[in-house]
Amino acid sequence: MSQTEKQKKEQKAAMKRLRQERKQKIKDIAATVKTQKEAVKAIKEQLQNHGGTVPQIARETGISADKVLWYIAALKKYGEISEAEKDGGYFRYILSEGSPEEIFNGQPDGSQDTK
């Protein structure tokens, strides 16, 4: 077995041990991630056709309005959603065009890279 293969094997075994140590926590986080994925999917589905305001999306998805806004803020930051025009006292949100990765790497918030 080559040196790198041996290293890889050792690393895999170490990861397995670490996962075993954190088993319960990983289980809890995985459950949270499942809920988050479902919520994001439901929100994006709502936006797919016509976009929507936070209360509209909340009504359609059954997710509370504050949580919808929380996801929208995050998805907007990661370039997956953008703000559209105003609708009464609320803004409408739509899915962003282009691959999220492209948008993300372009620093959507226009900030400086200070490294």
């Binding site: 990861m15 995985a30 305001t53 936070v54 504050d66 006292g89 609320y90 200070t114 490294k115």
Partner: protein
Amino acid sequence: MDAILELDFDALIVGGGIAGLQAALDLADQDYQVAVVEKDTSIGGKMIRLSKVFPTLDCSSCITTPKMAAAAHHENITIFTYCDLKSLESEGLVLTASITQRPRYVNPDKCIGCRLCEYHCPVYVADKEEGGFSARKAAYIPFSNAIPQIALIDVENCMLCGKCAKVCPTQAVDYFQEPENFTIRAKTAVLATGFELTPVENKQQYGNGEIPNVITSLQMERLLAPHGPYNRVLRPSDGMEPDAVAFIQCAGSRDKSMGISYCSRVCCMYAIKQAMLLSGSLPLADITVYYMDIRAFGKGYEQFYQNAKAMGIEFVKGKVATIDAGANDSVTLRYEDQNGEGVTSANHDMVALSLGMIPGWNPEGTCPVSTAADRFIQTIRPKIAPTRTDMEGVFVAGAAAGPKDIVDTITEAGAAAMEAAKYMTAMETARKAVA
């Protein structure tokens, strides 16, 4: 067992907020070797998290980022972030600090800050840098102008899926990183540990932080920041653009029920600033400031207050007694209007609490420096040498010594650096005289 790394510097600065950075720059420019130890993941303190600053309304990150970068790139300054100060003691004429570097689970020498790990991580976590109004990932860069731009993994929310390690182009992710202890020896130190806000959870009459759309002043700063969570001011409960916003002054200062009888000095001015910025972004909104007294103490501050009044911001003299959730996510205030109707109530779409300032650090058990009755670090010559503490060679600057605005913080940081430089010169002269 590995030997503990020992590092020698002329000066140690504890806290990398604007006070610590200014003191570090002033010492480093005089050719002293300076270490800055910061507990947070980035330097910059509160100032880098503000929107604009009174009284000039300069963009806060535009004026803080150059200072942060100047310190980070200064050849005489070494910055240690994400570190815990375990002890700071004096042994003869040497100060010794024991420090623990918390693990980032990312190798700082390899990370290029590309954020691919953050992008691919599947876990959303409430982003405290955005007042909890948005999310980050379990693998993340703290914020876009954080220094250093190095990712970290929040193990409390990481499910070890391995995606971050897989996508990282420099193999920087290291799930097995351990805390590392090291020691810094220095001739002098400046304590610049700043402040925190009074906890909103402690004020039952104001809803213990549980009423929707009642937010803290630092959360309001994030809503007003151009790169904030919503990129505009929206009501957190449902994304509505608020039509009526209130600011409640002395929410946690001059309040014995919260154990804080002193005035936090900056809250009047920051609330006026926030009200003005809000009026700029929501010109049709009704904006009301409920206050006991307005303390516009600094140069140009009274004019700033008068300008706010001229902009149509309403100032109501009255202490708010209770805050309750109203209909349709509104917020109901009960207060005594001292200039008019006596006890009355009002509804607003959103309410910001101008919370007071409490010390950012309690030295007890870590460092033998004394604190005053208000628990901020005590200065032993408050009139003639206001940065001197009761520990020889240890000085204090900024909000660590008491509530203060940025102008006074910068001035005091310069004074602390000067005292520290004078102290080192005196030590050197004494050493030469003995030799």
